[in-house]
Symmetry: C2
Subunit: 346 residues, 2 copies
């Protein structure tokens, strides 16, 4: 049983701020529900600044400072001469929230942060896809050895239940296939193309709305979906797939004509992730597929995501919800925090 | 930490047999996963028979016997001179699975079984709607006082995640509304009516397929959905509603003409459960509503069920899956068993 949760945050971008915002709102309620005080004691972000205060950081002031473009340490009281290692090694901190930008090729710097945090006996929550897609088995083994939690609900479908959903709520079932839409950017573009825009027009609109990056490669070429396919396969189905094992085709080759033909036939193109437990083991792929209106994924439009779990006892179970967003991904961290609170309160 | 799980089953109808069937298949795998041996040590059913064997009942023989219309005690080795109280009070048994027929008016006999089992310090899993719809608060308080688990995933949407889904996987969110289709029989009838059958024809077909009872009142008048609305409201949103608080309108007054008009307008009638957290507290209702194709519930057809959770952090999260069935409801019990195993293994 833990007496208190003292969080150190590495990274304080959109997702980190989203988490801080909702934690600030819900902290008293959650502390009361689980009977454990919750504090953020430290933040380190190379751009937004850093601070450590063992009594807990003033989150309102922190969010205000960042919102006004000030460095955190200029506004918030505490020790400011710190780096990420200070938080990872600090005795007061027992939970590291790792939310640095993801790197799908190396997993860094998240991978090193998470590894060091686990080695130092800290619980870890992350929304960082790279480290989990590339190094899940190693990190899970380390967490188990150290007797700490490693949670990462936000790596797939943001706060919409997906990973713990499969592990906890489908427990007892054999999952034979996971199929779905896990990338909001490409789904937005394909939805817009289905309503008459060209690829270039749809991409431009996605960029203007903040759904797509200036360099959209990770989304439109399927790298983001590939990382999520790896997470679903390795975490839920227990495989040891690597990126090279996951067939990956993006959406950039789909033409205006093809989309129109599909529409005329009552179909839609969707970028589909598919993880299959077959006779030859687990296989995974990401590619555009045509779906018709009898498929639940036909009705997953815009930035919304959806997953179908095919199981032995329940047939198909379908879940749909947001796949990205500041508060939505912050919620994934809050969910993981609740799950840790539930397990440590005993 | 428990050294073993020894189950006593009260009731051995379709759902009980479904659970026994899948437990038999998955037992070794689950015992290994959680590191705890799992046995069914006793069964009592007023029709199918009864047996107690502290070393564990031979499930294959039991299922074969029941399948061939034999009384369990005629075929399976063990002590046969027992009743439900024997199982509830037996020191060897630490988990009671209560799956007797539901009574939505009194909750009996399930209510008394569950209460006595909790009083005797046994964990309880049930799929029996009556006791949970009518006496949740009292039973929860008793379970907490005795430090045992009370699980009932199968009371809503059978094994499709709904209750623990909301409590565990949406933890951190405020749920503002739950809206959905929770009765497969009426949804099957309405789906068939939408494809051209009259109410009488659709009901007859549902009865022939085993989806509707000879006396279909509990389904078509909305009593079953009302009980589920109560469970959603009282368990997930923490209210203390009683049946009289839940507005209830069934599907029997929907005419052929109304269904045709709806179809011409691109709409469908669905029997909708709605639980709302409003300024005046929690309200709940069951009534037919017209939905259009932009509503996820429009695409929930036949005996499938679906729920939309409206939340502060995630907006709408939608889940769809089977709502009834032998194996599907057996899976709900297996899920609850996994959840207990997870919590007692520590």
């Amino acid at each position: 049983m833990l007496k208190e949760i003292n969080i150190g945050m590495i990274g304080f971008g959109v997702v980190g701020q989203g988490f801080a915002e909702i934690l600030q709102r819900k902290r008293d309620e959650l502390s009361k529900k689980y009977g454990i005080p919750i504090k953020i004691c430290g933040i380190f972000d190379p751009v937004k600044g850093q601070i450590f205060e063992k009594k807990g950081i003033d989150l309102k002031k922190t969010l205000d400072a960042v919102g006004r473009g000030r460095k955190i340490q200029e506004v918030v009281k505490g020790i400011s001469d710190i780096d990420e290692d200070y938080l990872i090694k600090n005795e007061k901190i027992n939970l590291i929230v790792e939310v640095t930008p993801t790197n799908l090729k190396t997993g860094e710097p998240g991978y090193s942060h998470i590894k060091k945090a686990l080695q130092n006996g800290k619980h870890v929550i992350t929304t960082n896809k790279g480290p989990i897609a590339l190094y899940y088995k190693e990190l899970r083994k380390l967490a188990d050895k150290k007797g700490v939690c490693l949670k990462f609900e936000g790596t797939v479908l943001s706060g919409t239940p997906a990973i713990q959903f499969a592990l906890n709520e489908l427990a007892g079932c054999e999952i034979k296939e996971i199929r779905g839409i896990v990338n909001g950017t490409t789904n937005y573009i394909l939805t817009k193309m289905a309503s008459g825009l060209s690829y270039e027009e749809a991409l431009k609109e996605a960029q203007e709305k903040g759904y797509a990056e200036t360099n959209p490669e990770a989304d439109v070429e399927g790298y983001d979906a590939q990382a999520k396919a790896l997470i679903l396969a390795n975490v839920i189905l227990g495989s040891s797939l690597k990126p090279v094992d996951v067939e990956r085709i993006g959406i950039t080759k789909i033409t205006f004509d093809e989309v129109n033909k599909a529409r005329a036939a009552g179909k839609k193109y969707k970028l589909i992730v598919r993880v299959i437990k077959g006779e030859k083991g687990i296989t995974a792929s990401v590619k555009p597929e045509l779906v018709d209106s009898t498929d639940p994924l036909f009705h997953v439009d815009g930035v919304i995501n959806g997953l179908i779990f095919s199981t032995d006892h329940l047939g198909e179970v379908f879940i749909k919800g947001p796949g990205a967003g500041k508060i939505e991904t912050g919620q994934a961290i809050l969910h993981d925090l609740c799950s840790i609170l539930e397990s440590v309160k005993k």
